[in-house]
């Protein structure tokens, strides 16, 4: 057993005692009741369980939680799907996902949403040329599996958000 403390969606949690073999996914879902993060394949292959990890250097990346021990997140700051909307107001990404009917069963949505959010934040600091945008989105969402609507609708939704504010995300 170890005690972990971490920040989730800006809120401090812990110290909380966790078993050494407890996965981060079980910690979020079973210990904290944050069921927005899904358990998919259990082998880091579908990334439906991915959350955003914010590094102290200001960069962020997604990380699967099904194959990572909760202990590994001690001292870290993460964001889950529950942290996107605030005061009932959806983000532009969430609205675009709905507008494009990007998800059907919704199991993969949390992972896609987190990945797309990381992409937007990266583009704010490292904008790309319009010609490179399609490939940039493809590479960013690569690895996330969706079995319902396919990937085109997610891709189009993310592209829409970026093209709505070209000065913010593009060169």
């Amino acid at each position: 057993m170890s005690a972990i403390s971490l920040k989730i969606n800006g809120k401090d949690h812990g110290p909380i005692e966790v078993r050494d073999d407890l996965s981060m996914n079980d910690f979020l879902r079973e210990v904290l009741g944050m069921t927005g993060t899904k358990f998919g394949c259990g082998a880091a292959q579908c990334l439906s369980c991915a959350v955003i990890v914010d590094d102290p250097d200001g960069t962020s990346a997604t990380m699967p939680t099904c194959t990572a021990p909760a202990m590994n997140f001690d001292g870290k700051s993460i964001r889950t799907v529950e942290g996107h909307a605030s005061n009932g107001q959806l983000t532009a990404l969430q609205e675009a996902f709905i507008r494009h009917f990007a998800f059907q069963c919704g199991y993969c949505t949390a992972g896609f949403l987190n990945e797309a959010q990381v992409l937007l934040e990266r583009l704010e600091h490292q904008p790309v040329a319009r010609e490179a945008l399609e490939q940039t989105i493809l590479v960013a969402l690569d690895g996330h599996l969706c079995r319902c609507t396919g990937y085109v609708r997610y891709h189009e939704a993310v592209r829409d958000v970026i093209l709505a504010q070209p000065a913010r995300y593009l060169l």
């Binding site: 082998a43 880091a44 990380m63 699967p64 194959t67 590994n72 590479v139 960013a140 690569d142 690895g143």
Partner: protein
């Protein structure tokens, strides 16, 4: 009708048990085919002929080099392999320019600092593929030997670098502590280092 149902259930259960047993036996057979021990370098000291001595040492080192713990990351086609059977890595990841994967699928995203056995996830810091010039997959032990001792073919490594890599590198050392479900590399890292050092000392001969 009830007895028919019972028979069906029993038949189903027996089938399941047979499948599980067959899988377990297959796994055991695979594990059994991997060599677990390594002869210490001193065992070869009695070989009088220097070349034969060096060749015998390399044959022993070859047990480590061809272990799935080494081969899976010294894989060809920029795709790592996994498991004792050396199947292609799933999810489909690729070497990338720095050996740490492509931008959206970086190795350390899943492979953390240590093994996480509950999820069968191996880990070490760092976790990356061997450089492309050190690809061994599909090569004979002789070809591997020629490649690894020649700085022009191995990315500029000296023989001393090789001893250090096999004997002291932390990621190589993981091969002897691979976590649940993976057969460790034969012997110990100390034994492997001694064998490579003695092979170098005896002329680094290749079969």
């Amino acid at each position: 009708m009830k007895s028919d149902c019972k028979r069906l259930i029993l038949a189903f259960l027996f089938s399941c048990a047979a499948i599980i047993a067959a899988n377990l036996m297959a796994g055991k057979a695979l594990a059994g085919s991997l060599r677990l021990t390594l002869a210490p370098a001193e065992n070869f000291a009695g070989i009088a002929n220097a070349k034969a001595h060096s060749l015998a040492l390399f044959a022993e080192i070859g047990k480590v080099l061809t272990s799935p713990r080494c081969m899976n990351c010294h894989a060809a086609n920029d795709r790592p392999r996994q498991g004792d059977s050396g199947r292609l890595h799933q999810p489909p990841v690729f070497r990338g320019p720095d050996g740490l994967g492509l931008p959206a699928m970086r190795c350390p995203i899943c492979h953390l600092a240590t093994n996480f056995d509950p999820a069968r996830m191996p880990g070490n810091k760092p976790w990356l593929m061997a450089p492309s010039e050190m690809t061994w997959e599909g090569k004979t032990l002789s070809q591997i030997c020629v490649q690894m001792r020649d700085p022009k073919l191995n990315g500029g490594k000296s023989l001393a670098d090789l001893v250090h890599h096999i004997g002291d590198d932390e990621l190589v050392g993981w091969g002897w502590n691979p976590g649940i479900g993976r057969t460790p590399a034969p012997g110990t890292q100390e034994q492997a280092k001694a064998l490579v050092q003695t092979w170098v000392d005896t002329g680094a001969e290749c079969p």
